[in-house]
């Protein structure tokens, strides 16, 4: 067997690979060693022989947070850490080796990670890297609207937990996952280019012809990259965001609609410490204030496209005034605080309510300074009709996008990555081909139900709050009161939003 020879040669080949480029139809002599088990071939001339092209088990197109989470998760499980992974992303930050410094101004692009995502990260061993950078846990949340008719306060103590979530910058999450993967000994390669096209070799076993060449790549997907590289993969993972190219190439259609809203994102500074997440629903859309630690907070303010453009271009002082108005008592009055201890005849009904139900209404901290640029993003709802196709699977924003009003978007993506890596491990355990449809359909059936349920709820909220109509306002206020005081409902909402429950059922 050539295996012993290959194992001795391939470590050397890897140091040479950074200086060599492999092309699909190259007629020059070159050495090549892709995955550990392929024999080294020295070719003096080649037709388009498939032996020159590197073969990978998984090719992840898109090295964002969700794509890296999948790669890191595969690297952390004993059943899958022998898989060859290729990551295709033209973002230069992936190959950059400079660290994120603490003195850097906080990036406005942040995500709120739920406790379920935190335990996913801890399971992979990546959370320790996140803890080295700025991150902020919060254990309280207050939600109210412009009508002043009601408010709800949530607390982690209601469900006997310590935190409701953690706010982390996106680049910190991405870099932590990359560091975690680099510290493990998984075989991976980052291709700094974009995907151009993808072909799937059909298995022509059923066509009855004898023209099947028994080339080893007969059942693999071939990816052509923009800088001329190409590679084969058993499974192609589309983690390339809402405008996914992989989804287009696989011919998967989507359902969805644009919201008539854009979101402004920026980081602000305030004088008091903030450990609470605030969200106020205004007529045009919600404004959220999320703590980031060190007296910084992140603002996500949703409004119509014209207003968003105006607010982005106005000067800093006016913008801060607008923000303070939106969070304080502009657009409508403060809700009345609940009177503590006012039992009366209904005291027996309120005996088992959560502790946060009796908290006063609080005003968010006053914003003093703008600490970053203002960015504007259009919002839409999108759901891919299928998550899988032959040898292709979609995760993260490539499969679904939601409104940011509940901070769930990337958490759904991390749930997808968790589920897909587990399904791949189960497939490897029973020796199946990881690109086969039966296996991928299991991932789809797991995640579709959960994702659609969450998307429906978020869309419902968005629609319910976009109408300013007297009786509907009173109905919404009644809903606020209901959620605040009916403790089983409140606990269910908190555990569903924290990712502990997959579906919003009372179990």
């Amino acid at each position: 067997m050539n295996r012993a020879i290959v194992r001795r040669i391939t470590p050397n080949i890897r140091t040479w690979r950074s200086t060599l480029k492999t092309f699909c139809s190259d007629t020059s002599e070159k050495l090549h060693g892709s995955d550990g088990d392929k024999a080294v071939t020295v070719k003096s001339s080649s037709l388009d022989s498939t032996d020159n092209v590197p073969q990978y088990d998984v090719a992840i197109v898109g090295g964002g947070m969700v794509g890296m989470a999948l790669a890191c998760s595969l690297a952390s499980m004993p059943l899958t850490k022998h898989l060859n992974v290729a990551i295709i992303d033209s973002n230069p930050a992936l190959l950059a080796r400079d660290n994120i410094k603490k003195e850097d101004a906080p990036d406005p692009r942040v995500s709120t990670v739920t406790p379920a995502t935190i335990s996913f990260f801890k399971g992979m061993g990546a959370w320790q890297y996140v803890q080295l950078h700025r991150h902020a846990f919060f254990d309280r949340m207050q939600v109210w609207d412009y009508t002043g008719l009601g408010y709800t306060r949530y607390s982690a103590r209601d469900v006997d937990k310590a935190v409701l979530g953690c706010v982390v910058e996106n680049k910190v999450l991405q870099r932590s996952l990359l560091s975690c993967m680099e510290d493990s000994d998984v075989k991976k390669k980052i291709y700094p280019s974009r995907l151009n096209s993808m072909t799937l070799h059909k298995s022509s076993l059923l066509s009855g012809t004898d023209s099947i060449s028994s080339e080893p790549s007969g059942s693999l997907a071939k990816l052509n990259l923009s800088d001329g590289d190409c590679l084969y993969a058993k499974l192609v993972v589309g983690a390339d965001g809402s405008k996914s190219h992989v989804r287009k190439l696989a011919g998967i259609s989507t359902t969805g609609w644009k919201y008539p809203q854009n979101a402004i994102i920026c980081t602000v500074e305030h004088t008091e410490d903030n450990r609470c997440a605030w969200q106020r629903f205004l007529r045009t859309g919600p404004i959220a204030l999320l703590p980031m630690g060190d007296n910084y907070s992140n603002i996500v303010w949703t409004m119509g496209p014209q207003q968003a453009a105006d607010r982005r271009s106005m000067n800093e002082a006016d913008f801060l005034k607008a923000v303070n108005d939106a969070l304080d008592d502009g657009h409508g009055p403060h809700p009345q605080s609940e009177r503590i201890g006012d039992g009366g005849i209904l005291a027996w009904l309120r005996s088992d309510e959560t502790s946060s139900a009796s908290e006063h209404f609080e005003v968010p901290p006053r914003i003093t300074k703008l600490a970053s640029d203002r960015m504007v993003f259009p919002l839409s709802l999108m759901h891919a009709n299928n998550y899988v196709s032959k040898r292709v699977v979609l995760i993260g924003d490539a499969a679904h996008t939601v409104h940011p009003l509940a901070g769930q978007g990337v958490n759904l993506g991390f749930g997808d990555a968790n589920s897909l890596s587990r399904v791949i491990a189960e497939g490897v355990a029973v020796g199946s081909d990881i690109g086969e449809m039966a296996l991928l359909k299991r991932y789809e059936s797991e995640r579709k139900a959960a994702n659609i349920a969450m998307m429906a709820i978020l869309d419902g909220f968005q629609k319910a709050y976009s109408i300013d109509f007297g009786p509907l306002n009173v109905l919404r206020a009644a809903a606020f009161h209901g959620v605040n005081y009916i403790s089983p409902l409140k606990k269910n909402i908190i555990s569903y939003a924290s990712g502990e429950q997959r579906l919003p059922l009372f179990t």
Partner: protein, 314 residues
């Protein structure tokens, strides 16, 4: 485990039962065949009744057997030969096998990792072991075993199956090392091949002389090696499920794929394996959940069941 309890009940059986079906036409009017089947389980060679199914893969096992007409032999082989191209079509006539495959592999992985003392969390636990898949068909079982690291030999009596299996295995470099042979278990015994594990899944119900077949399987196993056999139980529930529902109502399988009289009960299987020096260690059943469409392992061996045994050390 509850299956061990079942096994101890099985071992308490003192004498073999001799099953013979008379005039199946009147009892099972749905059957297409008009022939009487008899499945003698004693080892003494008996003169075959009129039109009985001669042993397809055991044609030259005992030279003292009279030369029998091979009409039904060809019928069984022809049944599979006709649909050979559809082996790898996951939506075709072999769909139930494809859907059941991961569950069977989970049982095989669990028992064989324990038997050979391998790490169950390793990606290739069977590295360095030689397996033979008797009645491999299109290679549905052989390929995953090869991916798990085993050196696999697949044998089948139908030439078309071997061709299909070879073509499909060549598509993936991980499985192109599987050795496919169009031969029978007996011929391999004559070549004195030995394997660490011998697997015969969903084969024994298509064989006319199961006792002889099991003796061949045993001869192929090294001393202290493992055997895995799966088949369908000869119970009323199996008739209702595997034949009436699967073949006639849901059309999962072509009509006539299985014959109820060829099924073996777990007790019979344990006995004939015992006589072939294989002690059955564990047994499990497969149940199908129509709501989720998934198969799972269970203690219910009344329809499909799989048995893992070890060859007695000499």
């Amino acid at each position: 485990m509850a299956s061990k309890l079942l096994l101890s009940q099985l071992r308490n059986i003192t004498r073999p039962t001799h099953h013979r079906l008379i005039n199946p036409n009147f009892i099972f009017p749905l059957k297409n065949q008009t022939l009487i089947h008899s499945r003698p389980y004693s080892d003494a060679p008996q003169p075959p009744p009129v039109g009985s199914k001669p042993p397809p893969t055991n044609a030259d096992s005992a030279p003292t057997h009279k030369k029998i007409s091979s009409s039904l032999n060809q019928a069984e082989l022809a049944k599979f030969s006709a649909i050979a191209e559809t082996w790898w079509d996951a939506e075709g006539p072999f769909k139930p096998l494809h859907v059941m495959n991961p569950t069977r592999l989970a049982f095989i992985r669990s028992t064989l990792c324990r038997h050979f003392g391998k790490d169950p969390y390793s990606a290739k636990p069977f590295e360095g072991l030689k397996f033979v898949d008797v009645g491999c068909g299109g290679g549905i079982l052989s390929e995953p075993l090869a991916r798990m690291g085993a050196t696999v030999t697949g044998i089948d009596a139908v030439e078309k199956n071997i061709n299909i299996a070879q073509l499909h295995a060549d598509l993936d470099p991980g499985t192109s090392s599987i050795e496919y042979l169009c031969t029978t278990a007996e011929k391999l015994v004559e070549e004195q091949r030995k394997f660490d594990a011998v697997l015969a899944l969903e084969v024994i119900e298509h064989v006319a002389e199961p006792a002889e077949f099991c003796k061949s399987l045993s001869a192929l196993t090294v001393s202290g090696g493992a055997n895995v056999i799966s088949t369908i139980n000869r119970s009323m529930r199996a008739y209702a499920t595997a034949i009436v529902v699967a073949e006639y109502l849901l059309h999962w399988l072509p009509k006539g794929t299985h014959e109820w009289s060829s099924f073996l009960t777990p007790e019979e299987l344990v006995l004939i394996l015992q006589r072939a020096s294989i002690s059955v260690q564990e047994m499990a059943g497969f149940v199908y959940n129509p709501l989720t469409g998934k198969w799972s392992l269970s203690d219910d061996i009344s329809v499909n069941f799989i048995a893992y045994g070890t060859k007695n050390t000499e």
